[in-house]
Symmetry: C3
Subunit: 482 residues, 3 copies
């Protein structure tokens, strides 16, 4: 049935005229034109052929332009432009000049500008705007410029988002349809004035990672110098020992490596803005007033902060595993044995049960904390996080996250359980690093505990459902928003 009907439809020219853009519907596939036979042009052509289009290349040297995908044609620019209504411009901006001379051939065509720049701000106007100025009669669409030749060749497009912009809605729609057939999801970003933004997009270098990375580097540097001063310089000045070798691996007073405190602090910083936001909402009695800008920015980079914290924790764990093989650690152990033997005590190795309990708890908490940390990290993977329901995601990131923070903080407290009150701990009147790094996590945990109190929790839930403490009386309980 279907086949027969569709075939008969093709015989009726008037019915075809109602689907002028649905060229894929016709038995003969639509012809698309690509200007440029470079890597991108070739990969794009291959992909278009695979998706059922016919492809013609426009080249300055049609007879010597290297290997092109099987099934495609190659012509001079002018002839190629004639045979298609959609033309991909896979040519460097520097060489757009020749398009101006071809403007008459391009009138009424859709030109897709896929070009990128090597750096930001080297041209006063975006490439696409420049192209539109050269060929005013054509409908320029900027887009697909985030696709690499590599991704096109390897078919890594499924579900990928691409942005389009352009002044002609028709042209954008034609490009969007073509994108959909390639397995892409096209999003409309408005008129051609957005072209600059789209062209800057592939030049972005982890913009959302900058703040968290700065915080991490700052914290790590602080603790590095803090430990150098307290450990190496203090030892040199007061005890006349040269333990400068410690700088390299660990700066270790046993295990407090300079990445371990920043890791805990950054994990706490992931959960601090949530606590601050809850306090603000409680204080204001409404959720309809915006948070200050710094809080918004902070909340948007929590995921990145958490991942950096995980990276630091990973370094901390590997470092701990390496500890027993280190020269200095083995040396200390051997010296201990030899000293004990020489002193020839009768009960040289009294087994301290409390010490064993303390240390084993310390390790158990560390292992469990790291395990939960890794779980949190795994659910940050786009493909894993995307398969969770909202409540599951919330459970993991909030409940499990706070549990992880609690366990890691406890790990820190147990580390120093018997040294808090010892004066020798406070070299040069400064607290040891592990105490410093427990401050922020403790604050976050206390804040969370307060929010979990039944009376506070109830008020907060009501506020988040839209209740307002100072609501205009006539509207109370009328409409609240999700």
């Amino acid at each position: 049935m279907t086949v027969v009907n569709s075939t008969s439809e093709m015989l009726k020219p008037e019915s075809v005229s109602l689907h002028p853009l649905g060229a894929a519907a016709a038995a003969v596939p639509e012809m698309l034109c690509i200007f440029g036979t470079g890597d991108l042009g070739r990969s794009l052509g291959l992909r278009l052929l695979q998706s059922g289009y016919r492809v013609v290349y426009g080249s300055r040297r049609p007879h010597s332009c290297g290997p092109l995908p099987q099934g495609s044609q190659v012509m001079s620019h002018g002839a190629a432009a004639q045979s298609a209504s959609l033309i991909f411009i896979c040519v460097h901006r520097e060489h757009y000049g020749f398009l101006e001379t071809m403007a008459p051939h391009l009138a009424g065509k859709v030109l897709v500008d896929l070009s990128n720049n090597l750096k930001k701000g080297i041209h006063p106007e975006p490439n696409a705007a420049y192209l539109q100025r050269l060929v005013p009669g054509a409908a320029v669409v900027k887009g697909l410029n985030t696709l690499s030749a590599w991704a096109l060749q390897n078919g890594l497009l499924a579900g990928k988002q691409v942005y389009l912009c352009g002044n002609s809605a028709e042209a954008k729609r034609a490009v969007a349809e073509m994108s959909t057939k390639l397995g892409l999801t096209a999003l409309d970003r408005g008129s051609l004035s957005a072209a600059g933004e789209l062209e800057d997009f592939p030049l972005q270098l982890f913009p959302e990672w900058r703040l968290p990375l700065r915080v991490a580097v700052g914290l790590t540097a602080f603790f590095f110098f803090y430990l150098v001063i307290r450990d190496v310089i203090y030892g040199y000045v007061e005890q006349d020992k040269d333990i400068s070798y410690r700088i390299m691996v660990s700066l270790a007073n046993k295990d407090v490596f300079c990445v371990c405190p920043p890791s805990l602090i950054m994990l706490a910083l992931c959960y601090l803005p949530g606590g601050i936001a809850a306090s603000l909402q409680l204080y204001r009695g409404t959720k309809y007033r915006r948070f200050p800008d710094w809080l918004d920015r902070w909340m948007l980079c929590r995921k990145q902060m958490g991942l950096i914290a995980l990276g630091l924790a990973f370094l901390h764990v590997i470092h701990t595993f390496m500890t027993p093989t280190r020269y200095s650690v083995r040396h200390t152990l051997i010296t201990l044995v030899v000293d004990e033997m020489k002193n020839n005590k009768t009960t040289p190795f009294y087994f301290d049960n409390t010490e064993a309990w303390g240390q084993d708890s310390f390790y158990a908490l560390g292992i469990l904390g790291f395990f939960l940390y890794v779980l949190l990290g795994l659910t940050s993977l786009p493909s894993v996080g995307g398969s969770l329901s909202w409540r599951e995601f919330n459970f993991i990131q909030s409940k499990l996250g706070h549990l992880t923070l609690f366990i890691c903080t406890a790990h820190g407290y147990i580390y120093g359980w018997n040294t808090f009150l010892r004066p020798a701990t406070y070299k040069w009147y400064t607290p040891p690093a592990y105490m410093l790094c427990l401050i922020v996590p403790s604050v976050v945990l206390v804040l969370k505990a307060l929010v979990l109190l039944p009376c506070v929790d109830r008020t907060l839930t009501r506020i988040r459902q839209g209740w307002e403490r100072n609501q205009p009386t006539e509207e109370i309980g009328k409409v609240t928003n999700l």
Copy 2:
């Protein structure tokens, strides 16, 4: 060509009237309405604007409803409803009341109910059914309620599946088209009677993980108490030693931590149902009879079982790495040296070559087993598993899985290779934990070996291709199904 034709199409009103829903085809984008200016409403609006729609908000306080996405309009509810045919209801169910009074404005509109509840079963009827009852003239579609404001804002929608249900096929189709433009994949779940199911969906908390987690907790608890009794209590009663500190990290008779046996057993439990299913099919001589329910349920949670087994193996491995830094282990080592020195034997440290071979093999198998375990886990990631061909997936999950199980079981056997026959091994006449945990894996491996026998394998392959031992004679070899 394309552009020209499309433009001329826009001039012919009759051709436009044939595409009443394809509003995206027109030069002026379709207007969508959102009731509610909360987080979800704002994020959804932003996303719709990005996808090329126009957006109007309906608000109870159009002049003081906080910051809305650039490019959107805001009006009173009534005015907003007038200007669009598709209305998103981003309002809490508690406040649906006002929609009843607006019913005349909403007649003939598509209302998309995105609401969720905080808990299951707090309302007798689903939110969407309630909404339909309030506004009988509108076509209510339940759906998109699995999207979070967070995912909408961060553009994590590509390829995500959303479910729709509703009584009007037209309305569902309109919502499905809109979803497709947002990059979502809409699946139809039937009439509005399925709304309750869709509303429970975001409230699910790892339903498929429950059974495996219970098994894991049960096994771990069993081995924990088994080890406490055999190690700590036995030591206390029979040898008068206090080794309670061991409870915390390890309960370790050297390395048998209480998570290690459950890990091996759970890995075996992943492959046991496959063996049972094959045996059942061989016994019945057909694949067309259903498996018992418990076997079906078991087979559906194999992936989760495997991942929990991997988690436990991860803990086991970390614990092993931590062993040499533990206080008690270092104490034992030092004591050993000192004792040896005191006794002043002439050849105190005879190097036992067999022991070295055994232990190094034990470690090598453990390392290899863990490595394969991690590989198996990586291919369970949706994005990795999805890129494998059927045969590759099968190769990894079946062949590599059984190899992993074999190596881990061998790791267990070597652990106790020289203690199987020693009476001291059987404290209080109980076998040690590592023996207990080898039973299930051994059974699975024997079962697999039997299935791999050529004669059995041949019969099984024929059965799986549709052959039946007791097939009605007239149909033998006629049609079998994939």
Copy 3:
């Protein structure tokens, strides 16, 4: 508005006739037929029902064909074929015979052949071609055969690519539309002559991993025997020691495990083709000449090489962590202490500061290198890599990759920093393994350093933008391609 218009459209039969294939647009969903009630048939039916289609099964035993998805119908093959225009053939090729007798019922229908074979090349012609020969009046489309019953049941389809081929463009279009509704991305692979290729697709077993795996196995075997000869056999022959136990875990001269050199070499081999390609382009003065085939093949398996290198590095790291718990290592340590005690030196344990610096640097570089290695591996995950911009991906894979290689190479150099000139290092006049494995990485790093020289870098950038040294004069600077 929308709903009303669409409904009125359905009342006009002529407007409906213009959308013969857009069955989803009609209020009554399209009926699809499935021949075969096996696992695949049932899963596919379930999925089609979820996507809003009606489903009818054709079965040889309509009354006893086991449980089918709720909402589907089941009939005899003939009756089922009558009621749908698109028929899925979920039957083994061996039983296609009955379709020939049904040919009259199937004329004009679209037959989707989903079948796969168990092995390559067991049939002279592809299943789909055979089917077309049996039913010449139908339009056979080969495709969807990469979907497993398991993926269909679990809804793991979103964004997945499926390939279609067939002689009728109409039939392919109908199947492609159906695929899109299921959340799949359909790619057209041309006429039915491509069917054999599509049928071989699910039988592929990691084709792109073969070369890297062979290289890895070769290198590992080489280093294994090299270490056995230099360590075990040399020790046995020259020093009369039996250290055969070392074969099992490590073949370790301290830490040089037989997987560690291959890991470093394979990481270098990932970056070597890039260097070779750059040199070739510089030498030829153009980017328009193709690379030799071996270089192309090499460049295509860089990702797999890198991942295998990561796997080997992972083994190396785990092995290092296990070192202190090994029997032989503990034995060496104890023997050392006892020997020192017996000799009763006055300053038995001189702490060598240089040694401590060297070893701690060695470990620090190793930890950092492994950390970066893991980062590189994570960005190879499809879901992570897909979310990076082109510049970010480039930054990670090129800059960070070379940094990783540099750090790992430095780790290797420091390992042997004080043994390069010692004659005892060269047992039997052979260099130790770690020296051998530093050759390739050093070459790659030198090559990269040369390419980074400003003058070379500038020329290379120009060549990659399309500049040619020997360009025909009339065209210089005219058009270059992306």
